[in-house]
Amino acid sequence: MPESIPASLIVDALKDTFREARAALAAEAPARRPPAEPLGWVLSVPDTHQRTVLAALDKERALRVVTCATEDEANAIAAGLYIGGEPYVVMIQHAGLYASVNTLRGVAIDGRVPVLYLIGLLGREKDRDPRDSRHSMVRYCEPLLDTFGVPHARLEGPDDVRLVPEYYRLAWQRRGPAALLVGLETS
């Protein structure tokens, strides 16, 4: 049975992930002096499912949230940050994934820009597998990612936050998209 994940665990996982990413960037570009802040960027179209994470991020000085009008923008901003040598994640909802598949394809797949997506599965029933959901927005999410060849995993409880750095590394290793699906509303 899935469990809700406390926002603080996700924020801490993001910080650890960005610290590791900064170290890798420093090795790649030793001449560059990275900024003291932010540690990393969260590109977000606000997601009901992850609203406690967004609320926690509001209080974080080390992480900077860029609130985007559309998920297309979040993907394009990610490309600019990648080119400029900054670490980032994209935090959206499943509906936003559907709205932005052309940009995901153009930026993360054809453009080979690494992007880790944190995708909220709003409406996901606790007692059903997402692929069997009564709600099409929940049901189609993993098949859509499969169609585009995007590796993905579910965040189904507090122990799964270890997947945040793991999938971030995966996105950067394969220079493409990777996705983590947030199963229940964060707490």
Binding site: E28, A29, A31, R32, P35, W41, V66, T67, C68, A69, T70, D72, E73, A74, N75, A76, I77, A78, A79, G80, L81, Y82, I83, G84, G85, E86, N102, T103, R105, G106, V107, D110, G111, R112, V113
Partner: protein, 189 residues
Amino acid sequence: MAMKPEDALREIARVRGEAICVPTMTTAPGWRTIAPDDLSVTCVGFMGGASALGLGLALARPERRVLVFDGDGSLLMQLGSLATIAGAAPRNLVHFVFKNAVYHTSGAQAIPGGAGVDFVLMAKGAGYRMACAIADLAELRRRLPELLRAEGPVLVELATTLADATPMTAPGVPFGAQVQALREALLAG
């Protein structure tokens, strides 16, 4: 008199210094010819994304100017990016909009609203620090130094004619290869 896009790009190239440039659609073939260096990346393959791509670059590289060469049809596809850019408030971003009132690449169909669409008003309403329209080449030449020094985000609407080439008639380097080339150049420098 409306400017030829290539003439406007030549003026910008003359004074851009070390700015990173982001052309898209009909500014792309001309810019490749005028400034064939690796401090540019063309927004190609994700419609309307030039402004947001420029924002990401501007946030990542606050020590450099970032110049976006957007189209009016392209910007309309991601019009919300005006508010996103204003919200992020990058001081180093100059957003040029080449306004020819048509979708040149797909056959010069009129954009919604045609020539009456006022991007200056929209940028000001969204919260850009500065926005202005420039009608001819002499005015662009005169104002460019000030515009490239101004605290951003700045939007400059340029009244232009059609370009000599479009990405359909003169396709360029794939986006992914451009991304890697510019990233390597910036990380090395």
